[in-house]
Structure formats: structure tokens, C-alpha cells
């Protein structure tokens, strides 16, 4: 993709979105993240914060210190050669208990995909996921892509309360509910790993660009890890980068 296909869209006078396309795919995401890294290093005057999303980078700015036109001029030369950038990724393994007590929708997902519950688990835990973005809730990671066999639209009737730690799938994405919240994704397990801690900076364990795998654990292991997490003795650690 050439720089000319990139659109700079105003979000009023305090943000502009640098948009690389309308679809969700890894190549687009890599360009968003590469531009994020470039802009974070460039430290443009008046830029308040940067937010990478699936297909665009949101640049929040202070209109007293800069302007849409000034930022557009500064960003244009940074759009070339983004596809050549390969940021080093952190790799995480997140333990998940797929026990029926937590996997509220596992049976339904199995029925709708024509797989057995064991096959759903095998498929979900068999892939490596890319963290596209964090949004919806504090620390909530949009991770993809789930194996095509598991891709289902969101639930028609969203739940009013999804427990924290729930691992869910919808469309081509999988996610972990970092806080208890209403939600419309299919819940297929629960992780004992804390992915959000307001006392830490950054408060979210995962960041866009990270790679994630899920490791099935049984109920006793889940309970043991929950107890260790509560005692502050269990935190995920990344490999690489």
C-alpha cells in the first residue's frame, strides 16, 4: 500500500485518525503499529496520546499547540515504507480453564460449529493470536484471528453480566473480559491470570502487537492459580522482546 491510499480523517479539532483501510487484517494492523512506533519516537509537538486500532491510528492532539493541517504535514513523510517495519513481539501464554462451570457457551458453540466441545477447545488453544488493539473495557484485548471453524457472529442477546476473567470468542476475534461487564461474545472458558491491574503502569498486561497462546488447565490448577494471584504471587511473564 502506498502512502497516497492512507486517509487522514478529522475527529473534530482534537484528534485525527490515520486510516489504512476498512478491513481487519494483520498486514493493516502491522502498518498501524509501525506508524504508532514511529510517531511515539518522533514526539510531535502538541500530540497528547496515540491509540492504535484495527485499521487506523488515532492521534489525539491539543489544538492550542498544533493543528490538523500541521500534523498532516508532519505525518505524511512518516507513511512511507511502513510495511518494511517488523516490531519485535512479546509472546504470552495465558492459562484457560474450559470447565463447563465457566464455559457458559461452549455447548452452543460446539453445536453451531458442528464440532465437539473438545474440538472447540483444541482449535481455540491451537492458534497463536495477534493483539490488534485494546478497547471496549480497560485492558480488554481484541485478539485474532480465531480458526475459521470457530467464527460465529456475536450473541443475539448480550448478557447483562459477564464475569471478569471470562475468555470469549466472536467473529474472527477472541478476548478476555478484564472486568465484570455486560457482553455479547460467546464465553468458552475463564483465565485465572490477572490481565488488568490499576496499581500498575501500564495497567494492562497485554499491548497491541503482542502474540498470545492459550494453554488449557484443569479446575484444580485454576483454583490454585486464582489463590496465588490473590496473594500477588502469580503474574504472567512475556517471552521475547
Amino acid at each position: 500500500m502506498s502512502a497516497s491510499q492512507v486517509r487522514l480523517l478529522p475527529n473534530g479539532d482534537t484528534a485525527l485518525a490515520v486510516e489504512f483501510g476498512e478491513r481487519i487484517d494483520r498486514a493493516t494492523s502491522e502498518r498501524v503499529l509501525a506508524l504508532h512506533d514511529r510517531l511515539a519516537r518522533a514526539v510531535l509537538a502538541g500530540v497528547v496520546e496515540l491509540l492504535p486500532t484495527f485499521r487506523s491510528l488515532m492521534v489525539h492532539y491539543d489544538p492550542v499547540r498544533t493543528s490538523h493541517a500541521e500534523l498532516a504535514r508532519a505525518i505524511a513523510p512518516l507513511l512511507d515504507g511502513l510495511e518494511r517495519v517488523h516490531p519485535a513481539a512479546r509472546r504470552w501464554t495465558i492459562p484457560v480453564c474450559y470447565d463447563a462451570a465457566f464455559a457458559l457457551d461452549l455447548g452452543e458453540v460446539a453445536a453451531r460449529t458442528g464440532l465437539s466441545p473438545a474440538e472447540v477447545i483444541e482449535q481455540h488453544a491451537g492458534a497463536t493470536y495477534h493483539v490488534y488493539m485494546i478497547g471496549f473495557l480497560p485492558g480488554y484485548p481484541y485478539m485474532g484471528d480465531v480458526p475459521a471453524r470457530l467464527a460465529l457472529p456475536r450473541r443475539e442477546n448480550p448478557r447483562t453480566a459477564v464475569p471478569a476473567g471470562s475468555v470469549a470468542i466472536a467473529t474472527t476475534m477472541t478476548a478476555v473480559y478484564t472486568l465484570g461487564s455486560p457482553g455479547g461474545w460467546h464465553i468458552i472458558g475463564r483465565t485465572p491470570a490477572p490481565l488488568w491491574d490499576r496499581r500498575r503502569d501500564p495497567p494492562a498486561v497485554l499491548a497491541p502487537g503482542d502474540k498470545v497462546r492459550f494453554a488449557p488447565i484443569d479446575r484444580p490448577e485454576f483454583e490454585r492459580l486464582v489463590a496465588r494471584a490473590a496473594a500477588g504471587e502469580f503474574a504472567l511473564e512475556a517471552e521475547g522482546a
Binding site: 480523517l9 478529522p10 475527529n11 473534530g12 479539532d13 482534537t14 484528534a15 485518525a17 486510516e19 476498512e22 478491513r23 481487519i24 497528547v48 496520546e49 496515540l50 491509540l51 492504535p52 486500532t53 484495527f54 485499521r55 487506523s56 488515532m58 489525539h60 489544538p63 492550542v64 493543528s67 490538523h68 493541517a69 488493539m133 485494546i134 478497547g135 471496549f136 473495557l137 480497560p138 485492558g139 480488554y140 481484541y142 478484564t178 472486568l179 461487564s181 490499576r198 496499581r199 503502569d201 501500564p202 495497567p203 494492562a204 499491548a207 497491541p208
Partner: protein
């Protein structure tokens, strides 16, 4: 002994807010902060604080607070204050600072005509906050006192044990009336709407719905027609983003807006007009007016110039004892 304000009655809903939690949006953390940052900044200026000091944001009926400190100076914007000290009562209009002594009871009146009122205390509150901000965001338990609105019995610790003696001041006249016209910049997804929808947005009257909250102002009025569906791959939101879900009714995103969203955004309210949105009560009507991004930026710079000049224009309040 710590210096504090004791919450005797919590009022309708009151919580601490500042100018927001900046720098955490990429971790999904909403900015939060004052719904009406202009009123917050004026309240802080009158109380003698920097602009971003956390203050109480109060909806409808204000709280009653008892002074558990040697003295404290307070200033409110958007609500009158009433003080009872040992049987004697005094009142201060909004926009004027007031020095209180130990044992005084401060009753904050109803927010009027604005939806929100602010109470700043000189020196601010001695609280740690979360992720660099005291802004209360109850959904994630961030900021304020325990990440929630005030409750009866709460102690709000004060950073300053006493307020220095000095003439009280009054903010110069500032128009805080809820606006009827709100400027918007089209985009980022106005191409997801029909030409008629774009016209409808700026030619119709919309009414603020009762379903509005600190996350978003829901509007009732003519439906905005989508041209290519109402789902987009989620992207970033801004303060004042006007997103339009499937029912075609616009929602203006406010202080507690989620950092990202999956509905197309037809336009964005100019940042100079976003604070005024926080003053709008359910039931009032507004009209949108399209401006270009340069015009919106200029309006914001003008607002900042006026706010910067405010501190040179304080009026002294004559002692009336």
C-alpha cells in the same frame, strides 16, 4: 489530626473529577474527567488552584460537608453555597470564594441552570488517585474515593491544613448558560451516511434524552439514515464524537466515552463546545451547526485565551460580616 471534609449528606450524586486520565487510552482506559471542564477550571481559579486540580462534580442536589480542618477555602461554579456555623447562616452565590472554619457545615445548593456544578477547595484533596489522575471512573473503580461517588460518612482529606487569610474573590461574568447551538465538524465516517442524513443533522432540533450519562448524551429527534450499514471495524473515539447506532439516533460521546467504538461517527462536536454539552439537562433541545476543522481549532484557541485572561479579571468581594 488529618484535615478533611466530612460528607454529612451525599446529595444526588457527587464525585471527584479533574481534567482526565491522559496517556492510558491505548490500554482501553477512558479519559474521564469533568463533564464541563470550563466550569471546573473557573472553580479552581477562584479557589486559587491550578486548572487541573480535582474538585467535586455534582449533579442536581449538592452534598452537605462538615469542615474537619482548621480552615478551608472553597469556591463553587453552578450552585450556590450555604454555610451554617454555630447557629449563624451565610450564603455565597456561585462563582465566589468562601473561607470556612472547623465545624462549619457547607450545603451545596442544586446545580442550576446547568446539569453539573463544581466545588473546588484551595490546595485540592490529599488522595493518591489511579494512573496519574483523581478522576472517578466507577466502572473500573478508578480515582476519587475508592473509585466511586461520595457516600455519607466519607472523609475527603485536604492537602492544605488551613486556608490563608486573604480577600475573597469573585469570577468575572462568564456565560455558562446551556447553549442552544453546538458546532460540529463532519467526519470521520460521514461517508457512512446519506446526504440527507448529513443535512438532517444540521437542520433539525434534537432533544437530550433521559438515558444520557457521563459516557454519552443520547439524543431524540429525526433519524439519521446509514448509507452502508451501521457496523465499522472499531476505531478510536474523541470527546464529542457523534456515533449513530442502528436505530439512527445520535449519541454524543462525553467524558467517560469508551476509547474505541464500532458504530460510524457522522461528526464530532468542536472542542470549544464540548464543555457546554455537560451543562445540558435532559429535555432541553439543541441544534448542530457545521464548521470546518480550522474554524473549530480557532474557536478552541479563543476559548483558551479567554480562560487564560480570567485570572487577571477577578473581582474582590467586599467583606460583609
Amino acid at each position: 489530626m488529618t484535615s478533611a471534609l466530612l460528607v454529612v449528606a451525599s446529595g444526588s450524586i457527587a464525585m471527584l473529577q479533574d481534567l482526565g486520565r491522559i496517556g492510558q487510552q491505548r490500554y482501553g482506559v477512558p479519559v474521564s474527567g469533568a463533564l464541563d471542564p470550563v466550569s471546573l477550571r473557573i472553580a479552581n481559579a477562584v479557589a486559587g488552584n491550578p486548572d487541573g486540580t480535582a474538585a467535586l462534580e455534582m449533579f442536581y442536589r449538592g452534598p452537605t460537608l462538615e469542615v474537619a480542618a482548621e480552615s478551608v477555602r472553597v469556591a463553587s461554579i453552578g450552585a450556590a453555597l450555604e454555610v451554617s456555623s454555630g447557629g449563624a447562616n451565610r450564603r455565597a452565590p456561585a462563582g465566589q470564594s468562601l473561607r470556612l472554619a472547623r465545624g462549619d457545615r457547607l450545603s451545596v445548593g442544586a446545580s442550576d441552570p446547568s446539569l453539573v456544578a463544581y466545588l473546588a477547595v484551595e490546595g485540592g484533596f490529599a488522595l493518591a488517585g489511579d494512573l496519574g489522575s483523581l478522576a472517578t471512573f466507577p466502572r473500573a473503580g478508578l480515582g476519587g474515593i475508592g473509585g466511586r461517588p461520595l457516600k455519607k460518612g466519607d472523609l475527603l482529606p485536604l492537602a492544605a491544613p488551613r486556608a490563608p487569610e486573604r480577600p475573597e474573590r469573585r469570577a468575572p461574568k462568564w456565560d455558562l448558560a446551556p447553549p442552544t447551538r453546538v458546532r460540529v465538524v463532519f467526519g470521520p465516517q460521514d461517508d457512512y451516511f446519506t446526504e440527507r442524513a448529513r443535512q438532517t443533522l444540521v437542520e433539525s432540533e434534537y432533544t437530550v434524552s433521559r438515558q444520557s450519562d457521563r459516557m454519552g448524551m443520547r439524543l431524540e429527534g429525526p433519524v439519521l439514515e446509514h448509507a452502508k450499514g451501521f457496523n465499522i471495524a472499531s476505531d478510536g473515539t474523541a470527546p464529542g464524537s457523534i456515533q449513530v447506532p442502528g436505530n439512527g439516533l445520535p449519541i454524543v460521546l462525553l467524558a467517560d466515552r469508551p476509547t474505541t467504538g464500532g458504530y460510524p461517527k457522522i461528526a464530532t462536536v468542536a472542542s470549544a463546545d464540548v464543555p457546554a454539552l455537560g451543562r445540558l439537562r435532559p429535555g432541553v433541545t439543541i441544534r448542530f451547526e457545521a464548521v470546518g476543522v480550522e474554524e473549530a481549532e480557532a474557536a478552541r484557541r479563543e476559548l483558551e485565551t479567554q480562560l487564560a485572561a480570567l485570572r487577571d479579571r477577578f473581582e474582590a468581594v467586599r467583606r460583609a460580616r
